[in-house]
């Protein structure tokens, strides 16, 4: 009959711990839509859900049809402004805002103009062309498309935790404001609540 004494058991456990520590890391590709929650922090699923909700709301509400009716079938031109992250985590809004932008462009329901640092680079390139490009290919100044609406937003969070339990609530708000009248034409929001137990 096999008998295991205490030193042998400790030895086996320690060996197992060492082997576990030396185990190679395993990485597998997963579907981008697969929900994998590890830490309870903001992740790709939250970004995707936010993008889906915002896109459906932005393209499905009245502001779009109103604009096209009032402007003889013209599509509204949108510039993406600032999104402020006021939550407790690092969240990059570009992941879901870019999804929205892409849908605007691919569906051709909303026109998009470049803003921020990219616009500065564009103008820098145009300025460079004034001195270096041939006259026939040189792009002219003062012919940019002016935006009708600006898209701005904020990300807020509320954390409630006690001992090993935590509830995290995220609220992402995006709004479209008429640049002529300052009138807010659309507000989309996505609320996400998570219960985390350690």
């Amino acid at each position: 009959m096999f008998k295991m004494n205490a030193p042998a058991l400790i030895g086996i456990l320690m060996s197992a711990a060492v082997i576990q520590g030396c185990a190679p890391r395993k990485v597998t590709r997963v579907d981008e839509k697969q929900q994998i929650d590890i830490s309870g922090r903001w992740n790709n699923t939250d970004s995707r859900l936010t993008a889906e909700e915002m896109i459906a709301s932005a393209l499905g509400e009245n502001w779009l049809s109103e604009f096209t009716q009032q402007h003889g079938g013209k599509k509204p031109v949108v510039i993406v402004g600032m999104v402020t992250n006021k939550s407790h985590e690092h969240i990059d809004a570009e992941t879901f805002v870019k999804d929205m932008e892409r849908t605007f462009v691919t569906t051709q329901k909303v026109r998009l103009v470049q803003g921020g640092a990219k616009r500065e680079e564009l103008r820098g390139e145009r300025a460079d062309q004034q001195k270096n490009a041939s006259v026939s290919t040189m792009k002219k100044w003062g012919l940019e498309v002016g935006a009708d609406y600006i898209l701005q937003g904020s990300i807020n969070s509320i954390v409630d935790s006690h001992k090993r339990q935590m509830v995290v609530y995220y609220q992402v708000d995006l709004e479209l404001t008429d640049l002529q009248s300052n009138e807010v034409k659309w507000i989309g929001n996505k609320k996400i609540a998570k219960y985390v137990k350690n």
């Binding site: 922090r41 690092h90 680079e121 820098g124 300025a127 100044w141 003062g142 935790s161």
Partner: protein
Amino acid sequence: MRYCIRYHHFEAAIVACLLTMARPAMAQQQLLPDQNPRYQESMALYLIHEDSLTAREGETVQKTYKAYQFMEAKREWREQKRQARLERRARGWDTWGYPGYTYGYGYPGYNIGYGYPAYGFGHYRHHYGRSSFDWHDLAAVTTLAMGAYWLFR
């Protein structure tokens, strides 16, 4: 000579004024349909900075951030602890027991429960008072205790 300089200044000022007055008229003549009449203001501004604005074309701008990873944080925390221990060793034993020094001050095991279970590893730990239990303390206390025992037995 003074008169000459003054005359040249006056002349330059007149030329500048004439150019400034003539520019909008010239711009008006050359405007394309729907072109912004003040485009030259923007163009003048960007022509000054075009080098810096186009210098990074084709480059990937790295605006990365350090994501929180449990294992990485744990490793860093251990390394930090190891460094602190090495520094204490380098300082030597002569500073032992002086109030205000980290070494030998506080209670073993104190402060190890400061972490919030929901939030990571070591974020809230080891910031207040003594860092953690140290084998140096155990050795020192044992030595003192044995010395006292041998003296007073």
